[in-house]
Symmetry: C2
Subunit: 335 residues, 2 copies
């Protein structure tokens, strides 16, 4: 294992320290090893609904990279691929609370769901209203290594972006939670791995893929997908991902969508755009119009090579919220 | 070789096609296989100095990802790791010309330098004034596989950003070229590779590194660096890169700099921030103040794992130009 790290036990702490220093104009780190979280440099906005997300580290820029105006108020980085405990989630929730309540955006992994639930109960005891939205956009498998039901994957960035814009324009707690839920309900994803990734403290790849094998439906922690197949062309792989996504979504001709091609961390940008090119043509063939696009590394799996495709059905309100200004280390436009 | 591609001969063409479609609000592709270039969606601005760069593909987002307001007017993607020929450079130069002349920003590789020179001569014959600036920020080696003198590496993004802002505010041809030159003169870089990368049409890694070996001073095409050493900690590697950079730059206590930690394409963001953290501490120990920071994948080498560090000495004007709005697919702020 070759990595740009110092100590396998210090990867998250040192990375968050560097991240907060590099983006000190936008974010601060609690710096507390017992309750590590990242929040907006300016603190909570009075009267605004707070947005908190988090989960195991190793998916950067998710979630810390999406803290800032128009998106999250706080993010809780767990250990690598490991859910954060309730204490830091509670601390982040308190930091994000501006008196109007806090929405928890939780990827559907059993540990995350349980720990965010506990933190929400603790926050309620301190008179902070919490609404929770669970993201489960991955159509690949039902139940998985760490999950009952479907997994939450790359679409999480879209939930955070759009719900963040709703909170920023002044929506109340239930409305922000409702728009986050609406994004999740109208969105499906599926991914492919060309290579595995290595969690630092594990020291070896999380699974094995033969030199000519790829895994269709991979999870963002390397959990098993639908099938292993011989490596094939980008166009064929794109179709293998997009077909189940569109069938499950029930995308019909004439509909407008957002197309997200997400890199797993180790994929050259040039390859993501080749996947995007095919996805666009595939959608056009079905009469589905791509109204907005996002291509890049947003929800990664360390250095894994691979990509995922997310399709979100858009309406005018979701489009407007997606377009709204966002100023975070990982996503930035319009301001 | 497993890659998300269709045909090794179509990688650049299909990638550029996808890129232009994904960012149609910002850029257009010429779509001409004989003269492929990317330019601003709005065309050249009358009276503004045009900025053109280019070079072998495989370093995305450089250069096409930096076309847009406040940065490049056009970019010319060659084949993978191969200089573009004069024809597309000439076509891009004509597209970028708004009547005030065009600055060529050229990374110092023999093929790039020759082909941009030829294109500049052809443009002059069509009454377009061209000024050229050669970027050679890599302190690792003098002369290299494809280079006489020093190589142009990650600092190129800073030249493009700052010169782009100078052009946008209305500086004339010689002034834009002068500020680009000033950035190059005040900037040094050095990189490290943990793994090699594979050029699609080559089909095998461009060099071999043992499982416990890293290469200090690597070029962005995998050209040899200064030395191969046993893999060591991120902090030690950071010091091995930063020491020659700062010595060559002659950075003195009390000076203010921009610190760029650039990923080579396959490096997790978490690792880049660990390198950034150490670089910041190292600079602080020397009394050098980091006034601006940039961390991410800007000048990559396909899926190579590794990073480079660039230090740019700042003054008030360079800082102001760096901070100016930029709206490109790969770099965006302030607008």
């Amino acid at each position: 294992m070759k990595k740009l790290i110092n100590d396998v036990h210090e990867v998250v702490a040192q990375s968050v320290e560097g991240f907060a220093a590099a983006h000190a104009d936008l974010v601060i780190s609690s710096g507390d090893p017992e309750a590590l979280f990242i929040s907006r440099a300016g603190g909570a906005s009075a009267g605004k609904v707070g947005l908190v997300s988090g989960g195991g580290s190793g998916h950067e820029p998710l979630h810390g990279g999406f803290v800032g105006r128009g998106m999250l108020d706080a993010a809780v980085p767990g250990a690598m691929f490991t859910s954060p405990t309730p204490d830091p989630i509670l601390a982040a929730t308190k930091a994000a609370d501006g008196g109007a309540g806090v929405v928890h955006i939780v990827k559907n992994y059993t540990g995350d769901v349980l720990n965010f639930e506990t933190a929400a109960e603790l926050a309620q005891m301190e008179d902070i209203d919490v609404a929770s939205v669970v993201v489960d956009d991955d159509v690949a498998v039902q139940d998985s290594l760490y999950t009952a039901g479907r997994r939450g994957v790359a679409g999480t960035v879209l939930v955070e972006k759009i719900a963040g814009a709703a909170a920023e324009r002044g929506d109340d707690l239930q409305s922000v939670a409702a728009v986050a839920q609406r994004v999740n309900d109208n969105m499906r994803s599926m991914g492919v791995a060309l290579t595995a990734c290595t969690v630092p403290h594990a020291g070896q790849p999380s699974f094995d893929l033969a030199p000519d094998e790829i895994e269709i439906g991979i999870g963002i922690h390397g959990e098993p997908g639908r099938e292993r197949i011989k490596a094939t062309s980008a166009d064929e792989i794109t179709d293998l991902l997009l077909n189940p996504v569109l069938e499950d979504l029930g995308a019909a001709s004439g509909e407008q969508v957002l197309l997200l091609v997400n890199g797993m961390g180790g994929t050259p940008a040039s390859e993501l755009y080749i996947v995007y090119r095919r996805a666009l043509a595939h959608l056009a063939d079905r009469g589905v119009q791509v109204r907005r696009s996002l291509v890049g590394n947003y929800v990664t799996s360390l250095e894994m090579q691979g990509a995922s495709i997310t399709v979100l059905r858009l309406d005018d309100e979701l489009t407007q919220l997606y377009d709204a200004p966002v100023v975070t280390p990982g996503l930035r436009w319009g301001a």
